[in-house]
């Protein structure tokens, strides 16, 4: 894998161990970050393969390739793997790599727990994927696993799914505790909270969302487990329970989860846009407060996923207004990003391309979100391809876009080499075109009434589905190109400077490229911290 990345690291009394044991026993935040990122990428390819099966089946109307039950297993596992296996671990990997070197800390606060929280993941992923080979097949009830589909009517393999979710939740909670402890206690002594870069801020707040929301998910799957095996009736109406309550509990986790996957992306974009605009971030403190506001609001809007469960009008109105309120702090962020670029000396290196397209495409996803927040309109959009288009715009061209941008932005710091700018440009343009060919027609399909999670469809949806599938295959292929570019960057020996980007600011750019195995053994000075902070104005 990336063994040769740090092979050139000669500077040390105790460098990394050799061979595979280095990766198994490591407590180094950079090693663990690397492990997380590779794990996330492998899971992205697995979840992507499932998506390819889905798009292949939907290429034409009728049942061609897979039977409906397997199709449902594909949609379920695609969602679960992408959320819990790809996007979340990728952000945790970025946090591990970047937070210590952004706040001038030698490592994470709890390095051994850090090792543990990573090494739970491959086992959880393996348990989740092993359900495909069990009798009755993998879970096929959608990634939201609504009861009673996931309790009374689910295959036996569901118990393995429950255990996998427990493990994934455990890993996330430990990761979050580690990040909170690191940010509070390991900051360079002269770094105030309002000197922290936005990626650190957004992850700090995300960690609070994680320790608040993931245990709720653990509670929900535990109730499922006892309902399935120990005769309780939390979600069983015949025993006095209520299946609708499952949705309340699930979405009380599920909505903060949405922002767990979005806030770190906001942080990343707030680093890249100022660098390539050669201006400080516009409205640093308002960015921080906006993130806090979004995090708070994310806990009080959960039932907007449930407008069709027979909610009283007053409930529908409350959740509609509360949800639309989120557009205010999010709007603050989008306008601040635009203002950051305003009159900047902009250049368009690959990370900047991803970041600018993030701002545009994420805003499209956000606007369809406001549409669906309207209770009466949601009656039409609910469970159609419109919602599929919405959450793929915010998760793929939002979260994944930010991850891509961050990989290109910090890859020279990680590997010490520049990536191939020309190929990276080609990768970006292929991805941005194909992803829109893939997801944009889904808006029209949804408005015309095509339901989600169905392997077959009426003939009038055929053209848009074919366009969407072709975009999907092209988008899938771009990840092969991405893999090549990353491997090439690790090996190409095209040395990067320590600052890498002319306009880059932040403590991570003051250490050598590649980042030495041990960094910030003595904390940075106050002058350095202020000079590298995002709110420092040079003139």
């Amino acid at each position: 894998m990336t063994t040769d990345v740090i092979a050139e690291d000669h500077n040390h009394h105790h460098g990394p161990e050799k061979g595979i044991m280095r990766w198994i026993k490591t407590t180094n935040h950079k090693d663990i970050g690397t492990l997380y990122l590779w794990f996330a990428f492998i899971m992205l390819l697995v979840g992507g393969a499932f998506a390819m099966v889905i798009r292949l089946e939907l290429l034409q109307p009728g049942i061609q390739l897979v039977n409906p039950d397997f199709f449902n297993q594909m949609t379920t596992m695609h969602g679960l793997i992408m959320v819990f296996g790809a996007v979340m671990p990728a952000f945790v990997g970025l946090a591990n790599w970047l937070i210590p070197i952004m706040i001038g800390a030698p490592d994470m606060a709890l390095p051994r727990m850090n090792n543990w929280s990573f090494w739970i993941l491959p086992f959880a992923g393996a348990i989740l994927l092993s359900t495909f080979f069990m009798e009755g097949g993998a879970p096929a009830f959608g990634w939201t696993f609504y009861a009673p589909l996931s309790t009374t009517f689910a295959p036996d393999s569901t118990d393995f799914f429950i255990f996998a979710i427990h493990l994934l939740g455990f890993s996330s909670i430990m990761g979050a505790i580690n990040i909170i402890a690191t940010v509070i206690n390991m900051r360079a002594p002269d770094m105030k909270f309002m000197d922290m870069p936005l990626f650190v801020w957004t992850w700090f707040i995300t960690s609070f969302l994680l320790i608040g929301a993931m245990p709720i998910l653990a509670g929900a799957v535990t109730m499922m487990l006892t309902d399935r095996n120990f005769g309780t009736a939390f979600f069983d109406a015949s025993g006095g329970g209520d299946p609708v309550m499952f949705q309340h509990i699930f979405w009380f986790f599920g909505h903060p989860e949405v922002y767990i996957m979005a806030l770190p992306a906001f942080g990343i974009i707030s680093h890249i846009l100022p660098t390539f605009s050669r201006k400080p971030l516009f409205g640093y403190s308002s960015m921080v407060y906006a993130v806090v506001a979004i995090a708070f609001l994310s806990y009080i809007v959960w039932a907007h996923h449930m407008f069709l469960t027979g909610m009283p009008v007053a409930g529908g109105l409350y959740f509609m207004y509360a949800t639309m309120l989120i557009a205010v702090p999010t709007g603050v962020k989008v306008f601040n990003w635009v203002a950051t670029m305003w009159k900047g000396t902009m250049t368009f290196e690959t990370p900047m391309l991803w970041a600018i397209s993030f701002v545009i495409l994420f805003t499209i996803g956000g606007l369809t979100g406001v549409m669906m927040a309207m209770t009466p309109l949601d009656v039409q959009y609910h469970d159609t391809y419109f919602i599929v288009a919405h959450f793929h715009y915010v998760l793929v061209t939002g979260s994944v876009w930010a991850i891509m941008a961050s990989v290109y932005y910090w890859l020279p710091k990680w590997t010490g080499n520049m990536y191939n700018e020309k190929l990276a440009n080609i990768h970006f343009w292929l991805a941005v075109v194909s992803v829109n060919v893939l997801f944009f027609p889904m808006h029209f399909l949804g408005l015309a009434g095509m339901p989600r999670r169905i392997p077959d469809y009426s003939l009038q949806f055929a053209d848009f589905n074919m366009i969407s599938s072709i975009g999907g295959f092209a988008f899938g292929l771009t990840f092969i190109l991405f893999l090549y570019i990353v491997i090439d960057c690790i090996k190409n020996n095209n040395k990067a400077t320590s600052r890498v980007w002319e306009g880059a600011k932040g403590l991570e750019w003051t250490i050598a490229s590649p980042a030495p195995y041990h960094s910030f053994e003595s904390p940075p000075s106050k002058e350095e911290i202020i000079k590298e902070s995002q709110h420092f104005h040079e003139k």
Binding site: A105, A109, I173, I177, I180, A181, I184, N185, M186, P189, I211, G212, A213, M214, P215, I216, A218, G219, A220, T222, M223, F234, D236, A237, S238, G239, G240, D242, V244, M245, H248, I249, F252, G310, M311, P312, G315
Partner: protein, 170 residues
């Protein structure tokens, strides 16, 4: 690097544990909320002691429905599809259930009232749904519910439906 206080760790580890149990606390909270507001069509229960002033001006049509969940081999029908009632007065409604098999079947009826704003005014004095229902082989039985709609109900509501879902009990 600052020295970390012990209380900091306690708080950090307690937070997820508290949230885990909060997920379970949501179950009784949800039930209390449903009882108070009638969300989800949860009906109320009256002990019959409370006297109501009958509102003669208001007439409401109450319709009866039944639904058999998969796996329960019985037929259930309301005796009358609907009746006209005055709020404040007690009425009886009857469902007829038939077990078509030659085995004893046990079921549980779960009531629900629509619209949800009416649910909290819909009170039952007696109901077959308070207990499990045992259906002997080939038996046809009558099951009754005695209910009242409280006179405080919004006069705009002219139709209420009462629906029972019958679940199989193992």
């Amino acid at each position: 690097m600052k020295k970390i206080k012990k209380s900091f760790w306690v708080k950090l580890i307690a937070a997820p544990i508290v949230m885990f149990f909060f997920a379970f606390a949501m179950v009784p909270l949800y039930n209390v909320l449903c009882d108070i507001t009638g969300f989800n069509g949860t009906t109320g229960i009256t002990d019959g002691e409370q006297q109501y002033v009958v509102n003669e001006q208001n007439e409401i049509e109450v319709s009866f429905f039944s639904m058999i969940m998969p796996g329960l081999p019985i037929e259930v029908k309301p005796k009358f599809d609907s009746i006209k009632i005055k709020p404040g007065k007690f009425y009886d409604a009857t469902y007829i259930a038939k077990n078509n098999t030659n085995k004893e079947v046990v079921g549980q009826a779960v009531p629900s009232v629509a619209p949800t704003v009416a649910a909290s005014f819909f009170k039952k004095l007696e109901c077959f749904c308070f207990n499990r229902q045992v259906f002997a082989p080939g038996d046809e039985i009558e099951m009754s519910v005695r209910f009242v709609v409280e006179p405080q109900i919004d006069e705009k509501i002219k139709d209420i439906s009462l629906s029972y879902s019958f679940f199989k009990i193992e």
